[in-house]
């Protein structure tokens, strides 16, 4: 279908910068998620790709050809808006068939295709209704069907699952993934839900403040986050970041220090400890349990330690500790991350020798 390239793309309105210096490449048939907090420029990126906005700077290429000047109607892009944007004056069937009005096709053929696509997203029983008479999940499927019917080069989904309840969201996730595989269409999914991004996408573009922080597979984003932003945005509950410095091959935070290797003297660093990799052990960092949050199958504890407040996760349905309990925390030292304190970038090759 299509290979997509963004080359130094920026979009500004006067002094407001929505996105800046976007550089990336999407392989044909790839499923990519754009992940980032509210207002970071995710929708803007989609609108740039759809041609609704023209980039202030840079170039957008489809299959190697510059499309900056190509009108939205000629880009053959299917888009599902955050609000679904169904046409309230038309029935579901008319909504789905709308894109076919602009290609020469016989009415019976168009109707047949609409029926097929409606079956694909399982709304074939709702064709006569109007959007106002549909539930949120049904509207979302209609929007998806309408985006898919003209066999787009590129499918853009702007937080399509944010209005659904948890169960429906789960089933729609696998549904969308299945449809995407079946049709083999290059797809970009915008979301601020990292679970959605990690479960659905081949690769994730992590954005913050109009810039790309990292483009990587879900696993790498979690294991090797490039910046403190990615480290704290990906992974739930968020990573513990401990401020400190490196002196004489030791990470120093307050009165504590830990031996490490691979980093030279650095005035300011962050040490990143994943809550799910911190565990209670016989030996380790002394801490006092301060908060207990049962999360279903797991329990999230917060503890005061010499390194400050640390969260750790225990896979148990019932709490093992209560407020004020003294525990010792240990972690796998290879998984401890270090970031530069000034620019937030990951420091490669640093490894902790001992955590206690």
């Amino acid at each position: 279908m299509a290979r997509i390239e963004l080359v130094g793309v920026a979009k500004r309105w006067g002094n407001t910068v929505a996105v800046e210096d976007m550089r990336t490449e999407l392989e044909d048939r790839e499923f990519v998620a754009i992940l980032g907090p509210s207002g970071c420029g995710k929708s803007t990126t989609l609108f740039l790709l759809a041609g609704i906005y023209a980039p202030t700077e840079g170039e957008i290429r489809f299959d190697g050809v510059r499309v900056n000047e190509v009108e939205p109607k000629d880009r053959n892009v299917g888009i599902v808006f955050q609000s679904y944007a169904l046409y309230p004056n038309m029935t579901v069937e008319q909504n789905i068939m709308f894109p076919l009005r602009f290609v020469s096709m016989e009415a019976t053929e168009a109707q047949k295709q609409a029926r097929e696509i409606a079956e694909l997203v399982q709304i074939e029983k709702l064709l006569e209704r109007r959007p106002g008479q549909l539930s949120g999940g049904q509207q979302q499927r209609v929007a998806l069907a309408r985006a898919l019917i003209k066999k787009p080069n590129l499918l853009l989904l702007d937080e399509p699952l944010s209005n659904l309840d948890a169960t429906l969201r789960l089933s729609m996730r696998s549904e969308i993934r299945r449809i995407q595989r079946e049709l083999g269409v290059t797809t970009i999914l915008v979301t601020h839900d990292q679970v959605e991004a990690t479960t659905m996408a081949d690769r994730i573009i992590c954005m913050n403040d109009g810039r790309i922080e990292q483009i990587d597979t879900p696993e790498n984003l979690y294991r090797r986050p490039n910046t403190t932003f990615v480290a704290s945005f990906v992974g739930s509950p968020p990573i513990n970041l401990v401020a400190g410095s490196i002196r004489e091959s030791r990470f120093v935070a307050g009165e504590r220090s830990f031996p490490l290797s691979g980093i030279t003297e650095t005035a300011e660093v962050w040490m990143g400890l994943r809550p799910e990799l911190l565990a209670v052990a016989d030996e380790g960092l002394p801490a006092t349990v301060a908060t207990i949050e049962p999360m279903g199958r797991e329990i999230l504890y917060g503890a005061d330690s010499p390194l400050g407040f640390l969260r750790f996760l225990e896979a148990a349905p019932l709490p093992r500790f209560s407020f004020g309990d003294k525990v010792r925390l240990a972690t796998v030292v290879e998984n401890v991350l270090f970031f530069d304190g000034t620019d937030g970038g990951r420091i490669d090759g640093a490894s902790l020798n001992e955590f206690s």
Binding site: K73, P88, N89, P99, R101, R146, K150
Partner: protein, 351 residues
């Protein structure tokens, strides 16, 4: 525990009762205030069918109204109580039949169609006075009727087209001076159009449209535009932006997106301003008289005025009949489209 349950029940009962009382009071109040508004209408209708040259028989008037007014209110009550369209139609039919029978029995002998002779008699005034009056060119009513129709319809067409397009533009495109333009539109509403009669007369005179129907058509169009543009902008503001963008990614041009997706959603606004615009043109008197010298053209309002002038004190019935004929189209328009007119507030408020 039980006490609490009983409490809830009595509270619910009390609020239901209160709601009922409020509803009845409201309906009663509206009925009473509408009587002085509606009664003259009934009178005009009854007079037009019953008066003979020389005066109005007031006994006929009261008798007829005592049948018609209850019939109308009975229908109103029924309309509120019953939701099904078929039943409403049946009720309306039954009430019409009943009041026709009632009228026939009480005042049947006094009813006649003589006052409506102007519809078929092109030489009405000559017959009345034995000579042509009002400059000798007093026309047949259908000429005035067609002219009024032309003025109202063409000015409405202009108003609606321009207001819709500019409302869309004002709603969608941020251009320099948009807010001052909108403020300017509102300021125009401050001036009463009659204050502008003389300058308008001069302008129309200079461009050579005096004594043509084009004069009032243009003036009426321009006078209503600011308000109508404002209304339409409000309606377009209420149409989500992404629906339009969605249409464009679906393959529509901007114009097609407007036509297929945006326009159907402002239908209520277009119907509303069409009705208002049409009625304004239909009722216009000041500018149609100001922009003609002599009797170059006639419209319904001038026709009614001159009929009243010519026969004043002689033939109330004729004046009443012309009035009924004159107001029938606006009334029908209102009746058929009032459901759309009530939506005006929703769209308009957002402007």
């Amino acid at each position: 525990m039980t006490a609490a349950v009983q409490d809830w029940q009595s509270i619910a009962r009390r609020s239901t009762r209160l709601r009922k009382i409020n509803f009845v009071l409201l309906i009663g109040f509206l009925t009473i205030v509408s009587i002085p508004v509606l009664l003259p209408f009934f009178w005009v209708v009854v007079i037009s069918f019953s008066a003979r040259t020389g005066g109005v028989e007031s006994a006929v008037l009261w008798k007829a109204c005592s049948i018609l007014v209850p019939a109308v209110f009975a229908y109103g009550g029924f309309h509120l109580a019953v939701k099904s369209v078929r039943r409403r139609l049946i009720a309306a039919g039954a009430l019409i039949a009943a009041s026709t029978a009632g009228l026939y029995l009480t005042v049947g002998d006094d009813l006649h169609l003589h006052n409506y002779r102007f519809l078929v008699n092109p030489n009405l005034v000559e017959e009345l006075r034995g000579a042509a009056t009002a400059g000798g060119q007093f026309p047949w009513v259908w000429v005035a009727f067609i002219n009024s129709l032309v003025v109202a319809a063409i000015s409405t067409l202009f108003k609606v087209t321009i207001a819709t397009l500019s409302g869309y533009y004002l709603s969608r495109f941020a251009f320099r001076g948009r807010s001052s333009f909108l403020q300017g539109l509102l300021i125009l509403e401050v001036f009463h159009p009659w204050m502008l009669t003389i300058p308008i007369f001069l302008v129309i005179f200079w461009i050579g449209l005096l004594n043509t129907l084009a004069g009032p058509i243009l003036v009426l169009t321009v006078l209503d535009l600011p308000f109508f543009i404002f209304i339409m902008k409000g309606f377009f503001d209420a149409v989500p932006w992404d629906i339009e963008m969605s249409a464009m990614t679906d393959g529509a041009t901007r114009r097609q997106a407007f036509r297929y997706v945006v326009l159907p959603q402002v239908r209520a606004g277009i119907i509303a301003i069409s009705v208002l615009g049409f009625i304004k043109g239909w009722e216009e008197y000041v500018f149609v008289t100001a922009l003609r010298t002599g009797n170059s053209y006639w419209v319904m309002s001038t026709y009614l005025y001159y009929v009243a002038d010519d026969v004043m004190g002689v033939d109330y019935g004729l004046v009443a009949a012309v009035s009924v004929f004159y107001m029938a189209p606006s009334l029908l328009l209102y009746l058929f489209l009032q459901r759309h007119l009530t939506q005006l507030t929703f769209g308009g408020i957002k402007g």
